[in-house]
Every structure is written in structure tokens, then in C-alpha cells.
């Protein structure tokens, strides 16, 4: 952990590079998952879901990029200890949302008949209500993760929410 901090401190470009990769990861994750969610919610009904499922590996790749660079931000910050970040309320809520997003995706992937049914080419049925709730939750959760992540540098500023 000390080696990582030293490395980040020594190479000025390492931190911005990790930020760029983190952004690319979130773009891949939000874009691909968002496209599938919107389709499940009823947008572009003529497009069979089976085509969109090809994007899932990109979503996983995006998540891995975010996870690895996120670890650099927590463990390698030369100006903060990991505890500084881990004890931030904004960070904790963000991680809670990430966990909800992952569990939500796993439920869709492994515990829904709809996922299996829509695997067939030409399947264009409307998604049942519970599946639409999963897709809506996914959209809300991942966009909230982006929001909370961007708010991290501003501390736990929720206290200012009613201050204009």
C-alpha cells in the first residue's frame, strides 16, 4: 500500500491517468447497462434484446476498470489515508448503491425467466412489471453512483442541500 502511495506521489501523470480510466469504465458500464435497461423498459421495442446482451462483457469490463482504479484512489492517495475515504458518508452511500446495482444485475441475470426467454432471437414481448422495476432500479442506481462519485471531492455536503 505504501509502495502504491509512493508510486502515485512520484509520477504526476498516474493519478489523472487513473481518473481517465475510471471515467472510461463508468461510460462503458452506464452506457451498455443503460441501453439494456431502456430497452427492457420499452424503448426501441423492435430491437431484440438478444443483440443487446452482446454488450454485457463490455459492462463487466467497465466495472473492472472502475474497481481497479477506484482501489488506487482509496489506497494510493498521497494526501489521505484509506480511512479518510472509507469513513466519508458520501463514499459509504456510493458503495451501498454499487452493491444494490450488482445484486440487481445478478437477480436479472440468474433469477429471472425473462432473461432466458429473451435470449431467443425474435423475442419481442413486453417485459413483465417486476422486470421493468429491476431495469428502472438499475438506471437510477448507476446514475446515482456517478452523481455520488462526482460529489466525493466536496465532502459530505448533503448538509447544504437546503441552502440556496
Amino acid at each position: 500500500m505504501q509502495a502504491l502511495t509512493t508510486l502515485v506521489g512520484h509520477y504526476d501523470w498516474l493519478w489523472p491517468l487513473c481518473e481517465i480510466i475510471h471515467f472510461m469504465g463508468l461510460i462503458l458500464l452506464v452506457g451498455t447497462v443503460g441501453l439494456i435497461d431502456l430497452r427492457v423498459l420499452g424503448i426501441a421495442r423492435q430491437l431484440p434484446l438478444v443483440f443487446l446482451y452482446r454488450l454485457v462483457p463490455w459492462a463487466i469490463f467497465g466495472f473492472i476498470l472502475c474497481l481497479l482504479t477506484g482501489l488506487v484512489f482509496i489506497l494510493g492517495d498521497p494526501f489521505k489515508t484509506p480511512m479518510d475515504t472509507l469513513t466519508k458518508l458520501t463514499f459509504q452511500i456510493k458503495m451501498l448503491f454499487v452493491a444494490v446495482g450488482l445484486i440487481n444485475a445478478l437477480i436479472f441475470e440468474y433469477y429471472s425467466d425473462f432473461r432466458q426467454l429473451s435470449q431467443v432471437e425474435g423475442f419481442n414481448d413486453e417485459a413483465p412489471k417486476k422486470i421493468k422495476i429491476i431495469a428502472g432500479t438499475s438506471l437510477f442506481v448507476w446514475l446515482s453512483v456517478v452523481y455520488l462519485g462526482r460529489m466525493l471531492p466536496y465532502g459530505d455536503s448533503f448538509y447544504f442541500i437546503f441552502y440556496w
Partner: protein, 164 residues
């Protein structure tokens, strides 16, 4: 420089820059991040779909997703303008900022071409030619967004590019 000082001294720019409210700078920057995730994310996902579709997906139906992309672009233009006004004297003197804007404009032009290409895909007599054209546009779109993203992040690190 006088123009930049004037922009920064306007009431709205002062509010965005100096207010302690969560709705000021933090919300503008968060909206910009969410807008970017939706705009670039959906765009990248559509490009990856176009590049991966074998056998071909009925791509004309993805047109509906472009409404979300244009909405996100509008959010980013508004939030970006406010953020720029708030820090005009810092941002508008950075060459990398102009590179970002140039590549955002290029990305939007390619995006428009892509939307037109997808919309007219069904009318093309030569399907292979249409697909090849869409694939070239997809690669262009991915490249221009990537450069815009890198340049955008580097605006926060001017010392990295121009020395201390």
C-alpha cells in the same frame, strides 16, 4: 481578458463559483458527469453494437435512443456553459480546453452522421456498404469521444501539460 473577467463577474457565474449551496458548483459538476455518462455512454454502446452485430441487428430501431443522447447533450451544454463562466479566466487560457471543445464538436458531427446512417439504413440498396459506412462512423465516434474525454480531464491538471 476583459471579456473573461466580465463573464466571471456575472451574478450567475459568481453564484456557481462561490455559493456554499449544494445546488451551485457541486450540482453543476455532477450534472456534467451524469450528462457525460449518458451522452458518451449510450453513444459508445450503440457504436459497440454496430461494430459487433453479426448477424446484423435491426439497427434502424436504435434511433429512439438518440432522444436520450440529445437530452444529455443539452444538459451538458447548459452545465458546461455555467461551469465555464464561473472559471472563464482559468479555462479559456488553456489550449487543452480548446482541444476538448474541438473534439466534442467533432464527436457531435459524427454522431449526427451516425444517426442519419442508422435512420436510412433500411433504405440502402446495398446493405454491406451501409454496414461498412456505419462501422467507420462508429470507430470515428469512439476515437473522437476518447480524445475529448482525455482532454476534458486534463483541464484539471494544467501543470501536468505546461510544467509547474
Amino acid at each position: 481578458m476583459e471579456v473573461l473577467n466580465f463573464l466571471e463577474s456575472t451574478a450567475v457565474a459568481t453564484w456557481v463559483r462561490e455559493s456554499l449551496s449544494l445546488w451551485a458548483f457541486p450540482t453543476m459538476i455532477a450534472l456534467h458527469a451524469i450528462g457525460m455518462a449518458v451522452l458518451v455512454g449510450l453513444n459508445v454502446a450503440i457504436c459497440l453494437l454496430l461494430l459487433s452485430s453479426k448477424p446484423r441487428a435491426p439497427m434502424a430501431s436504435v434511433q429512439t435512443f438518440f432522444w436520450f443522447i440529445w437530452l444529455a447533450l443539452a444538459v451538458n451544454v447548459v452545465s458546461g456553459t455555467l461551469l465555464l463562466m464561473a472559471n472563464a479566466t482559468e479555462l479559456l487560457v488553456l489550449p487543452v480546453f480548446y482541444i476538448k471543445i474541438l473534439f466534442v464538436i467533432l464527436s457531435v458531427i459524427v454522431l449526427l452522421k451516425l444517426q442519419q446512417g442508422v435512420a436510412t439504413e433500411v433504405n440502402y440498396a446495398d446493405a454491406d456498404l451501409s454496414q461498412k459506412r456505419l462501422r467507420i462512423l462508429s470507430v470515428m465516434c469512439l476515437s473522437t469521444w476518447m480524445i475529448a474525454l482525455v482532454a476534458g480531464r486534463l483541464t484539471a491538471y494544467p501543470m501536468l501539460l505546461f510544467g509547474h
